[in-house]
Amino acid sequence: MSGTSLRPMAGSVAVLVALATLPWWAGDQYQIHLAALIAAWWILVAGLNLVVGFGGQLSIGHVGLLAIGAYAFAILAGRHDWSPWIALAASGGLGGVCGLLLGLPSLRLPGFYFAMATMAFALIVAELVLALGDLTGGGVGLSVPGFPEPFESPAGHYLLMLGIATIITWCAWNVARFPWGRALVAIRDNPVAAESVGVPVFRMKLAVFVASGVTAGLAGALFASLQSYITPDTFVFELGLFFFVCIIIGGRGSIAGPLAGTAILTALPELVAPLAKLGTLFYGLLLLAVVLLVPEGIGRLFQVILERLRPRETASPVLEPDAARLAAAIRRQERP
């Protein structure tokens, strides 16, 4: 790994530098706004990706957690004049708590039950936002403050979000490459095998689900301050579907795939008008095509092509166990 990871690392740094300097080479403020929106969605998707892409728990209701983060920020920073930084942290924390409350009963349920529970959760949040009008502004919504200088300008706000998105990406990548990531993939692909080596399936699912709640809460707060005004119309169920589709299309079990998926699916309808007309239908068609043709996602498609291009190993060597080495290996790891 250490040898081959140098190239992607250099690539990541180059991309990051390019993104960090965007305000200086972007054509206009609209592009910066779009980039900031992508960053907000990605902060949520990065956490959700651990749940959906790695852990295999199909949550289609994260828009509910996003709304909770957004409203928490708007209420705390806007109405109660908390410092935006503390309100941001509180939004993430509240997202995590709500993730815990949703995950505790629902993560024990089988796949379809879980998906329906998350969808119902999103609907309940939407319902409560309207019902608790005194707190949330009801249908009228709430205006949301921004962050203090130097993050007040659009470029500053974008850089703040880019910074947070970078940290979240780094964290998600760490989780993915260390034993946690493997255990999550095992829970997704083979829960029975995961249990057999001692993976505490429910606890891990819950841990990443709570983490995804935190990122959803953070994303909600950042998104709300980017929008500067939130109403219930913003947090429709289709948005939850959108996050989900970003991951599936980008590829399960990958970080770069869903990142690319989020960026492309956010920007594409803005740039290609006919796609915008189709709206959610477009996501449905895309999802169906990916599930039927490349169920591992478009990211995996590239990986497979790269593997094909690499020189094939000529004829598998014979599987020949070496008793002495095996014994040495076993004795070496013997428990004290």
């Binding site: 054509g27 206009d28 403020q29 609209y30 706004h33 779009l34 929106l37 319902e127 309207l130 019902a131 009008g133 009801g138 249908g139 009228v140 919504g141 205006s143 929008q227 500067s228 005004y229 939130i230 109403t231 219930p232 119309d233 913003t234 429709v236 948005l239 309808p269 803005e270 008008a273 915008a276 007309k277 709206g279």
Partner: protein, 390 residues
Amino acid sequence: MDFRRPLAALLLSLATVSTAWAESPIRIGWLSSLTGALSSAAVAENQGVQFAVEEINQAGGIGGRKIELVTYDTQGDPTKAVNFAQRLAFVDKVHFVIGPVNSGESLATVPIVAKAGIPNIIIGTIDELVDPKRFPRAFRAINTNRQWITSANDYALKTLKKSKIAIIGDTSGYGTSSAKTAAELLEKAGVKPVFSTLVDPNKTDLTDELAKAKAAGADVVMPWSAATGLLARLLNARGDMGWKVSIVGHPALMAPAIRKLLNKPEYWTDAYAAGYVSMTAGADGKLPAATKSLVDRMRPKLGGAEIDFMFWWVALGYDTVHIVEHAVKKAGGTDPAAIQKALETTSDLKGVYADYTWTPQDRNGFPDVGVVMNLADSFKDGTYRAPKAP
């Protein structure tokens, strides 16, 4: 087949854009939810906007400058609306923004357009949309929600002389806030509603709600919802129950789409909705001259037959462009500060939909006298009749 119309409109707007040749055109951004839920108002308004732009351009533009219309379909999604508002402000660099159509979207875009310093013609009814301090260049052309509600309340209390009021709102954002405002305004008038409830806009049957209102002794039911399906079910429930009670409320009560949803046509009687003086035929059956003239001019464009949607939407769209024309002429250009100055000193600007007055303190241009109650079932050729005095 509803989606074809906005598509055609979009193509038309593209054509307008490409044929505009004047050296320095006046660019108007038009945020319109042409598709998605609640698109019918936007589609109609778009007809008016397009028509006004064409007329003005054919007549040589505003002071020789052609109008260039940049239309974006927000699909009723506030996130998309914000994106497009940013785009209008920073990519297209428009001189004016009209819209968006839905209040939810407007609430999100108005601060952005205000921050960019661009004059914004508001066509959403929610009160919070205008604020001379925070959004000094946002001017409302449409009436406020309050104006609708006040008219309806007055009609129920003073004209019908009913005081036991049942308020029914829907659980959407618009419904909840309107129902709340209605109750507040009633209480200010010294009347406490005898019954008040919120209903899911997709609820299949309202018999139960009406039965409860009846049990509470209501003598008038005031629905505040823009969901025609829900309103039709309300009318049906009243008719099926055989309850003789007046219904007074939101303009959607008189939407032509309701007719098809009613069990019996007569279920639509004894229902009154807030409408417009400009769209109401007088005792002689004649529309105001400006309205009549616009209807006649536009009829060929609208297919030549009877108009089957609410014409006030078209008139509102038509007027927004003329407000822009007025402002540019008065300001002698498109300098935003001058435009602001011009509009806030505008008094009694004649329009089709209404006559507008803005002041430095008040950004609501629509006059209180412009709203009038209509008979819900009086729809004909896009316009309405007022109820006879009881």
